[in-house]
Symmetry: C2
Subunit: 472 residues, 2 copies
């Protein structure tokens, strides 16, 4: 009996020692990752190049083609084990000439120019423009209550602001977003001839914010613009006094034929389980009004930095690590869908995918769209991140590009930077390199790299993984 | 026996219900605070006014006098129960004409202008300037090793960078700070004729960062400047090839006679324990190179917003709440010392003081320089803050202005915003209104207001408090 007790004690202390040593190793490696990236990180310089040498890069544009080549060459220069392109057909929407928007014949203002921008994927008015009375609504219900009699032949103005009391601005974006995505078709149902949508912005300023709209099947496609928050407030104020006010706008955007484009993939091959993949990704396309610095240049350079840093540290991954620069997140998700399709076709076993598509701000943690067992495993890593100011490891959506991998049982995670500033500049001309902070950007890359290291070392207890779970 | 059991159960459930109800009340009030400030907060507009109408405001300057009047009038307009000034004599340092700094007769660069700024409180060179060979060091030890033989008659160049691997930039500032504060006197010990200090900045750019230096007693005061990080790197590179390089600089700063200035105090009187004070404060003075937007305009408008919001919500405080705008934090701490002196003189029982002097960035939590029992009490409030992204309630320094209250046993707390961007602009010409984000600023005010509410309601279990502890 005593011998058995002794054996148990020995085994127990061996286990404790081992897991202590393992957690020491983990902590040390995380520290090394942060040191490498904070001292020698290249994400900030790479972002400058993507923003200044390539610039805004809407799917199908020459700039998007340049971005593909930029990403391919950069990852090749870093000497990743392989770098390849995944062909994918993408929509090709072009903005054309600068938009014109004006309040017409106001008693108070006369003819008054306002700041608008065409919504992505929208049809244009052409040179003839749209001129009509404006009817303001805040919800689809309000629109339905007005009905065809009060909407037909008019421009519908959706003016529900983002809710400032939401602490996570992403939640406020979600609550206001249906106006931009579904508003034009909803208005067209009742015979509207155009749509003005209040910019999905947390700021009060003169910058209109674009973003894609989605026309419903079998409903006439009507032109649609976003208006700056300041001008939305102005328009709303004037409408209170002059309800029969007319508005004119002119957009020259159009949807052209689909274009061949690419996801760009770089990988470091795994030494023990090369057939298991861990993906880090962001989207390479952006809107055209600025440089797509936070959205999603940050995610692109974060994802490249993960593999660059690990390689620079001479780290030998157990699993195959992939940086994926997805094409066409903004107005179609064709790249994300194609990636998932090919993963299935090629029988690739994807353990986990981590997306960075919420900006290059100081990181707060990760959102987890994962199985219960993976959730528990990730929670056990929280102490490793506490001194790096990462404290949020909550359930939540991960990222649009990787979401198509969900049906394959892939564990999905999203970098969650602080959200306060994101929607001030999102999809507007303010999203340029200069507003990205070097340390904030690098810390995001370090957080992702650390997490990839932990998943690579210990697996993730997913049902789809052959090797994981045993090594937790 | 059964009756006693029943009684115990009843008492227990009453207690549970009560504490549940109390925590519901707390949570509801915190939510109301956030709603008030995120929807109707005035801190951002107030900051614009302080930055644009008053501007930079070094102690003793006309702008500092304007800031005093600005604060007094603003708090009077808000209708606080009383608003008053506390006279205090402050140092009056003036920068004078623009500095000149140049590398002289470099073989590689010829004569090359660099970006410098005089350190606060430093003596000037006057028109004659200082021209001497440069000797570069990184630590005081290195300087001591060189000794008088290699330092006498030279300009000492302190070039130890802020440590980028520190996650909290304040820690890196602490580690590098002795070069600026003590460097000039340390160099003068060995006969140096001037000092150049690498700017205490996390950025790599062309902006020099000022900040006060402190001359030691009985050691000659020598002129001292900060050099931008880019030019520090340039100078260091050139020195490697040309160790006998000369440097010229000219500063026109001087210390004038002390000037009468003021702390500005506004208060809402307590209804139950008016003789117990809770202070929220920031410092009203700033450096002169910019507008003191983050340092410490943010703290000023945060502290005013706390009382404004509670008053606007018709909240009746139990204790007396005070907003204190301290004068002269940057180069003397005269205001903080005077406040503590008067508190003691007037036998004021200060329960707690909360300072905001780390910028208007997205808040992470509070640092706590408090008794064990207050520490535990504050930890019990953490769940109330979790959904507002406040997660750090750790021991640490609170704020320079309130530190003089420590000997009176006051519980000291400091707002801890995210630190990543602070030292990019701190004490440089970049610290202007435009780099402050509205939501981030308002969230800081909401965090402070919520904490003040909790302390006011429940007391703080300090040894100096008569009422607290019983109500936890």
């Amino acid at each position: 009996m005593k011998k058995i007790q002794l054996l148990i004690i020995c085994l127990l202390s061996a286990t404790i020692t081992l897991s202590w040593a393992q957690s020491q190793d983990n902590a040390e490696m995380v520290r090394q990752v942060y040191d490498e990236i904070l001292l020698r990180g290249e994400a900030y310089d790479n972002l400058r190049s993507l923003c200044k040498d390539v610039g805004g890069r809407v799917s199908g544009s020459p700039e998007a083609a340049a971005a593909v080549e930029w990403g391919r060459q950069l990852m090749q220069q870093y000497g990743f084990d392989s770098v390849f392109l995944q062909p994918v057909m993408v929509p090709h929407w072009v903005r054309g000439k600068q938009e014109v928007g004006r309040i017409v014949n106001s008693k108070k203002l006369g003819t008054h120019e306002v700041n608008i921008t065409a919504l992505g994927n929208a049809v244009g008015t052409g040179d003839k423009g749209v001129l009509a009375e404006v009817v303001e609504v805040h919800t689809f219900e309000e629109l339905a209550d007005l009905g065809e009699s009060k909407v037909k032949g008019k421009i519908v103005f959706f003016n529900r602001p983002m809710d400032q009391t939401q602490i996570q601005t992403g939640a406020a974006y979600g609550l206001a977003g249906n106006q931009r995505r579904g508003g034009p078709s909803e208005a067209a149902k009742y015979g509207a001839v155009g749509t003005i949508v209040r910019s999905l912005s947390t700021a009060f300023d003169d910058y209109p914010h674009t973003g894609s709209t989605v026309y419903s099947f079998n409903i006439p496609k009507i032109p649609a613009v976003a208006i700056s928050t300041n001008d939305a407030d102005l328009l709303s104020d004037i409408l209170k006094e002059e309800p029969n006010l007319s508005f004119y706008f002119e957009t020259h955007c159009q949807m052209l034929d689909d274009v061949l484009s690419y996801n760009v993939v770089g990988e470091l091959r795994g030494s023990e389980y090369p057939e298991e993949y861990i993906v880090v990704g962001g989207h390479l396309d952006s809107w055209d009004l600025a440089e797509g610095a936070h959205d999603d240049g940050a995610g692109v350079v974060h994802s490249i930095e993960v593999l660059r840093a690990l390689k620079a540290m001479n780290y030998q991954p157990k699993r195959t690590l992939r940086t994926v620069l997805f094409m066409n997140e903004e107005n179609g998700l064709a790249g994300g869908k194609k990636y998932a399709e090919l993963a299935e076709e090629n029988n690739e076993n994807h353990l986990a995918a981590i997306e960075s598509d919420a900006g290059g701000f100081t990181p707060r943690g990760f959102s987890l769209d994962v199985s219960e067992i993976a959730y528990e495993q990730i929670q056990s890593w929280k102490p490793l991140f506490a001194s790096y100011d990462l404290h949020k490891f909550d359930r939540g959506g991960s990222g649009a590009d990787i979401s198509a991998l969900k049906p394959q049982g892939v564990e999905l995670l999203g970098l969650r930077p602080d959200s306060q500033r994101y929607f001030d500049m999102h999809h507007s001309e303010l999203d340029v390199f200069e507003i990205v902070n070097r340390r904030e950007l690098l810390l995001g890359a370090a957080a992702m790299t650390s997490l990839v290291y932990l998943i690579d070392q210990h697996g993730l207890s997913s049902s789809t993984s052959s090797s994981a779970g045993t090594e937790r």
